[in-house]
């Protein structure tokens, strides 16, 4: 019997996609592009680029908010995108992270920010395990309902607990310790062309109350770390186990995947990242109250993941930017915000049901389906 070997190259679609073109670049070019991109992100709040920069609100503050959403989306993507668990109460972990900061640095103790942030992460993670251990054993829709309840229970507990500040919340959360290494000038466009403005600067890294750019830098650094963590863990046995569980839980279990353990792991990691985001939020805001942790926020977080493309880390980043940046940029339409948002979601559901940037698997599958369709039409008569 002869062995025919297929030639995968021959099956490649003729026009390479963006991803392929990027992958095919020489390594040095790739590194250079990444460095340039990182510098761009670092300077973004000071470039004051027309049109992109928000007029009404401080751009540094807006970018910080966008960054927290990105962080949240990365965390929630592990739960929803990788492990396929619908979590409607993610804001609960966000609140737990924020309140840990509030309680331990202001309300009941005055511990150092550097110490409290890891504590916030651990407490959020533990609450994720406590919530997940009994609920992840049941399938499907129950989890959505239980997590929805969890988010509300956390908020109501905050409202009703005097120890946690009650409805007034916690104020006077101290700034993280900074150090002043160098000043970064901004760009002034008032003359029509970019001019370096040496009078308006941001200090690296001084956490004040007027200039939010350093907070954005802090968030940017944390995002890079979380992103690296995400990439390393996803491309391992752990990531495969999550995917298999999402694809077919019974089959995964029968192939030796302890599915419950991996679901709980995804839940705990997601909760930890949610807690970290909340801690960042509280740090910059300086003041937190139960009102900051409404159910709507959970929905927005989930929207960021779904809009971007659950399962693709770059997709959910785009989703988070869309969900958090546009409402700030177009504040003049604030009254119609929810309407526009709803409309956009509907259009998205119709035209891009997998999200703006669906995971590679979906793209590949679609391409192969198209190829198959072409073949079946007989166009590939060799």
């Amino acid at each position: 019997m002869s062995t025919t070997t297929s030639t995968p190259a021959a099956r490649k679609p003729t026009s390479p996609g963006f991803r392929e073109r990027v992958t095919n670049l020489p390594k040095a070019v790739k590194i250079l592009l990444w460095v340039l991109f990182a510098i761009f992100l670092f300077l973004l709040p000071l470039l004051n680029i027309p049109f992109i920069t928000t007029e009404g609100s401080d751009f540094g503050g807006v970018l910080f908010t966008v960054a927290t959403y990105v962080l949240v989306a990365l965390g929630l993507n592990i739960v929803v995108g990788y492990a396929g668990l619908l979590d409607l109460g993610y804001v609960g972990f966000y609140a737990i992270g924020a309140y840990t900061i509030g309680v331990l640095t202001s309300e009941h103790a005055h511990m150092s920010w550097v110490v409290v942030v890891p504590i916030a992460i651990v407490i959020a993670m533990i609450s994720g395990i406590i919530l997940g251990a009994p609920t992840l054993r049941v399938r499907g829709d129950y989890l959505a309902i239980v997590t929805l309840g969890f988010g509300e229970i956390v908020r109501l507990t905050l409202v009703n607990s005097e120890w946690l500040g009650g409805a007034q919340g916690i104020s006077d959360i101290p700034k993280p310790p900074g150090f002043e290494l160098f000043e970064v000038p901004s760009i002034d466009w008032s003359s029509g062309a970019p001019v370096v403005d040496l009078d308006t600067t941001s200090t690296f890294l001084k956490f004040g109350i007027n200039d939010f750019v350093p907070y954005y830098w802090l968030a940017l650094g944390i995002i890079s770390l979380v992103l690296l963590f995400d990439i390393l863990v996803k491309s391992s046995r752990v990531g495969r186990a999550w995917e298999a569980t999402r694809e077919d839980e019974d089959a995964a279990e029968l192939m030796g995947v302890p599915t419950f353990r991996f679901k709980l792991l995804a839940f705990a990691l997601g909760a930890a990242i949610g807690g970290l985001s909340g801690a960042l939020f509280a740090t910059k805001a300086g003041f937190i109250s139960p009102d900051s942790f409404q159910l709507l926020l959970s929905i927005l977080f989930l929207a960021a993941v779904v809009v971007g493309g659950a399962g693709n880390r770059w997709g959910v980043i785009v989703g988070a930017i869309v969900v958090s940046y546009f409402p700030e940029r177009f504040r003049e339409f604030a009254d119609f915000r929810v309407l526009v948002f709803g409309l956009a979601l509907m259009l998205l559901a119709i035209f891009r049901p997998q999200g703006l940037l669906p995971p590679r698997r979906t793209v590949r599958a679609k391409r192969a389906d198209e190829r198959q369709a072409v073949l079946e039409e007989g166009e590939a008569s060799v």
Binding site: T7, G239, E243, M255, G256, T362, A365
Partner: protein, 328 residues
């Protein structure tokens, strides 16, 4: 009722995502006479890979369970009864599987064959009776624990991880005996690197053995039907099982493909596996199995060598009787 492993439910999402295309599997190989069934073959030449590479060494790796010597009892099904409400799916069924043999489990539709697999792999707990593996009762072990002990299976309705690549599907199987966790992965510790390298090597071997190495990066759902069936076997083999359970692996194949598959099963056995084969087609099983167990309405009605089974009046009656019922 709503258990997705219920084989009679045809709404398996994985199966739906798959492209059932029995013709596009091995029909491309020139030696196969094309059956005049009107089924179209896919014109894509890359879909033609069908022949296995039997010389590739895919022997099971040491997974830390006691190795039984050839001919000794590997698994015993002991008086197993399983009721679903009023339905008695298995009624005091007993049989055993010897190390190194190919045991056929046959019977008409609804006889309880798949249910028997489900009991052996921990999907269902028997109402009474039990399964002994390597001399010890399986008890209430979880599904993944049973897999780690060395019992692997395929599914009657294909249940691949549809949106993962062929290679990734097999890797999940190899991963069954790995222990890399978040910390190892995060810091790329030696354990992660060792297991990853070993896993890729074994997965590629298995794909090559199955003739699927050219399709390692294809999504499982995009593979032709026959390749999907083979990939399921590769994924099960990846867990290095002592006992490989195949649930109607030839379903949807044409006679030539079926014959090839039986050859494959024999090769797998020769590489050191014990095989339990469910097959609906009695003639097919006769050629490949060492012994056969026959079920009907949840009861074992016969057991013996293929020759004995062929002449057993109860078996003949069972098959004839049910075929008539099926026709109505």
């Amino acid at each position: 009722m709503s258990d997705p492993t219920q084989p009679t439910s045809g709404d398996d999402p994985t199966a739906a995502a798959a492209t059932p295309d029995p013709a596009g599997t091995s029909a491309g190989t020139s030696s196969v006479p094309v059956e005049p069934t009107g089924e179209r073959a896919l014109a894509d030449p890359a879909d033609e890979v069908t022949d296995i590479n039997p010389e590739v060494d895919i022997a099971p790796e040491d997974i830390g369970v006691p190795v039984v010597s050839e001919g000794e009892r590997l698994l015993e099904v002991d008086e197993v009864t399983l009721r679903f409400g009023g339905v008695v799916a298995l009624n005091e069924v007993s049989f055993h599987i010897n190390k190194g043999e190919i045991l056929g489990l046959i019977g008409p539709n609804g006889a309880g064959k798949t249910t028997c697999f489900n009991v052996m792999t921990g999907v269902y707990q028997p109402t009474s009776g039990g399964v002994r593996y390597l001399g010890k009762p399986l008890g209430k072990r979880k599904k993944f624990q049973i897999t780690k002990l060395g019992i692997a299976r395929t599914f009657q309705n294909i249940r691949l991880f549809a949106n993962m690549t062929a290679l990734e599907n097999v890797l999940v199987g190899v991963d069954a005996h790995h222990s890399t966790g978040v910390v190892s992965a995060m810091f790329r510790l030696p354990k992660h690197r060792r297991e990853e390298a070993q896993g890729y090597a074994r997965a590629l071997e298995l794909l090559t053995f199955m003739g699927l190495d050219g399709k390692a990066d294809e999504l499982a759902r995009n593979l032709p039907y026959g390749d999907q069936r083979r990939l399921e076997i590769a994924r099960a083999l990846a867990t290095s099982p002592q006992l490989l359970c195949l649930d109607e692996p030839a379903a949807g194949f044409n006679p030539a493909e079926k014959a090839k598959l039986m050859e494959l099963i024999r090769t797998i056995r020769d590489q050191g596996y014990t095989v339990l084969l469910i097959e609906h087609d009695m003639k097919l099983v006769m050629g490949v199995t060492d012994r056969i167990v026959v079920l009907e309405f949840g009861r074992k009605i016969a057991e013996g060598s293929p020759a004995e089974i062929r002449d057993n009046p109860a078996v003949i009656a069972a098959y004839l009787g049910v075929d008539e019922e099926d026709a109505s």
